[in-house]
Symmetry: C2
Subunit: 257 residues, 2 copies
């Protein structure tokens, strides 16, 4: 990933591990809930439980941000909410465009979690002319032709791609050319981007497949306790036997919508 050479071995203070960054939103969510209940302080143990991690990890994570706790007491909820928000860049407003207003795009447009975290849906964009002008989540959908203009005039730097897989790369290129430098990709395809552009992907079917893997393992476990290890040879042989069948006539691509 873009992590390639961003390596700055220098300044220790700005070296927050990626794994920690990925957990900050989790802590923020837990802290927000506490804040709403007007809880003034929280210990690493309590907060860790609320966020679903262990407390040593949480303390270590916070230690990368600075020393924001009070020994013997815990963390001040409001203060920590502020610090994490600032670290994540949520104290500023991020205009976002969503491209591809199918089922998923509409769900995203309606998703409350965006707006409440400093993200503002600046525009909804779809290639279907019939969609143009239709309101989704209170915003009129605009045609793809407007893409560059929207990005530039709103200073959008974050784009969300919720198009079919076949359109994603092209949309991505237009977004990047227009100035977008961070992309959240829901299309089940690998996007190629120039250096300096970040891509994160969310693939719904991948998550299910990972679950299926573990589920299958559970099921196998009951049949025979620790059935032997030489399974590999046997499996390989069996597989070769039924080798080249057209496994599934099943299907075309993996496209959303």
């Amino acid at each position: 990933m873009a992590t390639g050479r961003t390596h700055r071995p220098a300044t220790r203070s700005r070296g927050i591990p990626e794994a920690t960054v990925a957990r900050l939103p989790l802590y923020l969510r837990a802290l927000t809930a506490l804040s709403e209940r007007s809880v003034p302080t929280v210990s690493s143990e309590e907060l860790a439980a609320a966020a679903g991690v262990n407390s040593a990890k949480l303390r270590k994570d916070f230690s990368y941000l600075g020393s924001y706790g009070t020994r013997g007491v815990g963390y001040d909820v409001e203060y920590l909410v502020y610090q994490i928000s600032r670290e994540l860049g949520l104290t500023q407003d991020w205009p976002v465009v969503i491209v591809g207003i199918g089922n998923l795009g509409a769900a995203l447009a309606n998703y409350g979690g965006f707006a409440s975290r400093g993200f503002r849906v600046a525009a909804l964009i779809d290639a279907d002319p019939a969609m143009a002008g239709k309101p989704v989540a209170g915003i009129a959908v605009q045609h793809t032709d407007e893409l560059e203009h929207i990005i530039e005039s709103n200073g959008v730097s974050i784009g969300v791609i919720a198009t079919p897989a076949g359109a994603a790369q092209q949309v991505c290129e237009r977004l990047v050319a227009a100035g977008v430098t961070s992309i959240l990709n829901f299309a089940p395809t690998v996007l190629t981007v120039p250096d300096g552009v970040d891509v994160r992907k969310v693939d719904l079917s991948i998550e299910l497949q990972i679950l299926a893997f573990h589920e299958q393992r559970k099921a196998g476990e009951e049949g025979g306790p620790d059935s032997g290890g030489p399974a590999v040879a046997a499996r390989a042989a069996a597989a070769v036997a039924d080798d080249r069948k057209g496994p599934d006539g099943d299907m075309p691509a993996v496209m959303p919508a």
Copy 2:
């Protein structure tokens, strides 16, 4: 997390690293695309490029499954598709229920990537009586009252939660009590489950927050830092502290018209 269980150092053959499992669906997708184009074999280099990883990692990943390649040549596409499918448990049929048919639930129901990978939507379930009977993606929505009955009579072991956050834990408990042992959670909340139940979560706003973090860093590189004073806690807390809403917006638009 469910990772709690002790690693069995024994039988190497069954010790596929979690990171590798998470990439298998990616390889499978790339291979499926090649298969459709009737490409017979592929090298680790080519396949790695298509999947967006580096080739050493890919070879190492495959080495955990067995020796399915041919030195000097590469991998047989069809054979590898079969091996990975089987490893992931996709050669069997997984009935899945989706609970919470809002925008997101509907998007999931319509998502082609599920059906094409051995997942079958056995039922759509919603708590709103007004939804009952309405067809979504060609399937009539059923009321939550039917949940236990549906799970049991269809032998469902995988459940997808797309309800608002407030309902998620309760739905989760009912799913688990009825026999579900793998859950894909889209609600922005931490689910507590008994041992032996797997949970994977997808949080749309977390991904955006991670992007914002990196985006901020890029911007900060050039101009002056916003160097927020430590005292400004109130503003940030107000900005961040609000909803606790579901993934789909029951919430109307957050945007001023």
